[in-house]
């Protein structure tokens, strides 16, 4: 492969393709075998291959086409071409059997395909990828072309095989050269004239000796057929009449040609210059007269007819057929146009691509990093507003929005005692998912950029937070408003303004209950109190979470928060209703409060935010109304052998032990008054209850604790009248018997 640079005289791709260029001169070269070096213009060496990596994208994988794998584009006809080759070969073999003098035989279809006509000029031979590799397979395109012109693939094989021009020793002729060869040949041998008109005329005169045996049949049948043809396609009538009798010979195409006529009548219009009288030869050479109708009705049959018709052909005619029909001028120009079109198309595609790349590269560095981050910021801001990032409304709101998840995950994680702590970095955790990981690599360039981005995002979020929310857009001159919505704040379908702040009092139903004190508390009031307690509780919890550490520098902050805390505490206290006067007729509000499970559950939480005095007050309230508490009132004495589950029993025992241990030190003071004063039956009852549940050890401790009182009472009983003595001893016995003893034993 010579790398001699571009041969200035050789046509390159960039030049307009001139199919007749070779006619202007250099005819002497026709008889010589063509050397690749002569035709190679070296243009390929100058190709810019820097973007060759895109070739696969643009043209499909060229390596695949060579290896037989089916590429993405075009390749289906490549596969077709293989079959066509086989058909050509087959037909070649067949015609060879029928004729003795065959010059074109040595050229099998493969030769034709691989190197012959219509191979585009040199760039196609360039080994490096040029993007034009496809055109190496140009012959396949040629085959397609043949079928387009109405020649059935099988028939196309015949002329194709015949295409070989006399100088058989050649190889690798360029299109121009082949064309020039044809022209030269045409000049030398009139029968092989180039133009259809000439050919048909000469044929008409010289080939007359060829009279087919069945000629007499032709005319009548032809005449019969004409009326049939007319209605079918009147437009083609003229073309038919003229070409039927002249064209086929001229073109060297035998049977398929009527189709061509049908399809492209205008093409053959010039041929009317020839004799209008059908020549026997032409008729013999073309399809039997029935063919046109058949073509009209059933094109596929033509090829069968054609192959049969080819049998009686005279060798002379065959040699005339040797005139390559594919190289006839009009077809040649057609083909080269197609070729040109394909090349131009490929060129255009490549140019487009290069142009695009160029345009893009032209914009390289157009945006400064600031611009880019500005764009990114806009995008992020939109993202923030579109997804309704909770941080947009501040951490408190964020906590409110995502409370359950935040608190529960912090509870589960266990490592974040303060749920508010991660929320401070809401933007980071949501937008970057970096968390603490970014800490170590902060000093690297890109990381620094990321950090700046984070700051920008934070600022953007801040701006979005501070910006007043414009929920409606009024376009100037328009009559309506466009309201926005996002997932968090859907577009309101109803916009009802509440006239009052008090959520409860504005409602008609609740206004009737606006005087709870007069009617006493009903169920709804109690439930509302409970909810208010909870709400206040949560506020206080939030406040305590956001409470700065005690030794922080912001004392003023602490003071403010403390104020707020006290206010909330007061609210809480009011909602608990502990302060309401105790009345004998109605259940105290606090006791009804305690009668709901969620009210009871609130108490432990409430206690955390109450002062010591408040706690004592609550306990006093509970003790005073002990008999009204549902847990006490509804408590059932276990009768007989109640079988508690083992776990419950052991828990009960453990609880009792705790209770007993707490109680034990006070047992000495449990009795009101002295032994003589009496009125101690309740105490004995209580002690009896304790004694029943006590373990032997505890019973012993119990006896030890109250031994003095027992002995004192027994001693006193001896000094009393029997009635009174019995009463006192019975009281003592309540206790004594509960632990399996009796006062009798003491005597």
């Amino acid at each position: 492969m010579g790398s001699t640079g571009h041969n200035q005289s050789a046509p390159g791709f960039s030049q307009a393709y001139d199919p007749f260029a070779d006619l202007r001169g250099n005819h002497d070269s026709i008889d010589e075998a063509l050397d690749f070096e002569d035709t190679y213009d070296g243009l390929g060496d100058q190709l810019d291959e820097t973007d060759d990596i895109f070739n696969d994208d643009t043209f499909g994988d060229m390596t695949a086409t060579g290896g037989g794998a089916v590429g993405k584009d075009f390749d289906f006809f490549g596969a077709t071409a293989k079959i066509t080759n086989a058909m050509e070969e087959e037909h070649q073999r067949f015609s060879l059997q029928q004729q003795t003098s065959r010059t074109a035989r040595p050229y099998v279809a493969q030769d034709y395909n691989s190197g012959y006509a219509y191979q585009p000029p040199p760039p196609a031979s360039k080994p490096a990828r040029t993007g034009y590799e496809k055109y190496k397979e140009e012959p396949t395109e040629l085959e397609i072309d043949a079928s387009i012109w109405g020649v059935a693939p099988k028939k196309a094989a015949t002329p194709a095989a015949v295409v070989q021009p006399p100088p058989t020793g050649r190889k690798m002729m360029s299109l121009e050269e082949v064309e020039a060869a044809m022209r030269a040949e045409a000049k030398q041998t009139p029968p092989v004239s180039l133009t259809p008109q000439f050919q048909s005329q000469t044929q008409y005169h010289t080939g007359e000796f060829q009279i087919p045996v069945d000629q007499p049949n032709f005319y009548p049948r032809q005449e019969q057929l004409d009326p049939i043809r007319q209605p079918v396609d009147g437009r083609h009538q003229r073309g038919f009449q003229t070409s039927d009798y002249q064209q086929p010979i001229a073109q060297g195409i035998t049977h398929g040609h009527p189709i061509t006529i049908l399809q492209r009548p205008s093409r053959h219009a010039p041929s009317t210059t020839g004799p209008a009288i059908p020549s026997p030869i032409s008729q013999q050479q073309q399809t039997p007269p029935i063919a046109p109708t058949q073509i009209l009705q059933n094109p596929s049959r033509v090829s069968a007819e054609g192959s049969r018709a080819g049998v009686p052909m005279h060798p002379a005619q065959k040699s005339q057929n040797a005139t390559p029909r594919n190289i006839q001028p009009h077809q040649l120009s057609d083909l080269s146009e197609r070729e040109k079109a394909a090349i131009v198309e490929a060129e255009v595609r490549r140019a487009k691509r290069n142009h695009k790349i160029h345009l893009m590269s032209g914009n390289n560095g157009l945006m400064t990093p600031q611009d880019k981050s500005f764009i990114t910021r806009i995008q992020l801001q939109q993202l923030v507003s579109a997804t309704g990032d909770p941080s947009e409304q501040g951490n408190e709101a964020a906590l409110a929005e995502d409370f359950y998840y935040q608190v529960l995950s912090s509870l589960r994680a266990g490592q974040r005692p303060n749920p508010n702590q991660p929320l401070n970095n809401f933007a980071q955790t949501y937008l970057f998912q970096t968390g603490t990981r970014r800490g170590g690599t902060r000093h690297h360039g890109p990381q620094n950029h990321v950090q700046r981005m984070e700051q920008q995002v934070q600022r953007a979020v801040e701006a979005a937070k501070n910006k007043p929310k414009n929920k409606q857009l009024v376009i100037e001159g328009s009559l309506g408003k466009i309201s926005f919505s996002n997932a968090k704040t859907p577009k309101p379908l109803l916009n009802i303004k509440r006239t009052d702040n008090g959520a409860d009092t504005t409602r008609p139903g609740s206004s009737q209950r606006a005087q709870p004190t007069s009617k006493g508390h009903d169920k709804k009031d109690t439930l509302r109190d409970i909810e208010n307690v909870y709400l206040t509780l949560m506020k206080m919890e939030d406040l305590s979470r956001s409470m700065p550490p005690p030794n922080g520098p912001t004392d003023q902050d602490i003071a403010e928060k403390q104020d707020e805390f006290n206010k909330l505490n007061e609210q809480l206290w009011n909602h608990l209703r502990v302060h309401e006067p105790i009345s004998s007729t109605t259940v105290h509000p606090f006791i009804s409060f305690m009668s709901y499970p969620k009210g009871k559950r609130a108490i432990p939480r409430v206690f955390r935010y109450l002062s010591h005095t408040q706690r004592t007050t609550i306990l006093t309230m509970i003790v005073i109304h002990l008999d009204q508490l549902d847990v006490v009132r509804g408590a059932q004495v276990q009768t007989g052998g109640a079988h508690l589950p083992r776990c419950c029993y052991s828990r009960a025992v453990a609880t009792f032990n705790i209770f007993f241990n707490i109680l034990e030190p006070t047992l000495h003071n449990i009795f009101p008054g002295t032994v003589a004063s009496g009125e101690d039956i309740y105490v004995w009852q209580f002690l009896a209850a304790i004694g029943i549940g006590a373990s032997p050890d505890e019973q012993q401790r119990l006896v030890f604790a109250v031994k003095d009182r027992v002995m004192g009472t027994v001693g006193l009983a001896k000094t009393l009248p029997p009635d009174m003595a019995k009463g006192r001893l019975d009281n003592v016995n309540l206790f004594m018997r509960s632990i399996g003893l009796d006062v009798e034993l003491l005597n």
């Binding site: 309704g388 995502d402 359950y404 998840y405 608190v407 009802i496 709400l535 949560m538």
Partner: protein, 98 residues
């Protein structure tokens, strides 16, 4: 956002999603979004005989609007906290309504 917030905590728990067409799909909750679209992994249909076409399905994305119920794993729900969250949500809504 309460439900979204709540379902987020159930990620990686096994739930049963009952669809409005009565199909019940049990699987591991992998993802949920603000529309309560649900992604389930390792699913199986509760009545597999009835819905054999889902036998070979391993994971699903369920559009939130077609869900009728989500059966929750009771152990994974913190009831008092959920109550509080509900209160907060209600308070939020009331606050917005004003």
């Amino acid at each position: 956002m309460l439900f979204f917030s709540f379902f987020k905590t159930l990620i990686d728990h096994e739930v049963t999603v009952e669809l409005k067409n009565d199909i019940q799909i049990r699987g591991t909750l992998k993802s949920v979004d603000q529309y309560l679209n649900i992604k389930l992994d390792d699913i199986h249909v509760v009545e597999e005989i009835k819905y054999p076409h889902l036998s070979s399905v391993k994971n699903v994305f369920i559009r939130g609007s077609v869900v009728r119920y989500v059966h929750l794993p009771a152990a994974a729900v913190d009831v008092p906290l959920l109550e509080d969250a509900t209160r907060r949500e209600a308070a939020n809504q009331a606050g917005k309504g004003k």
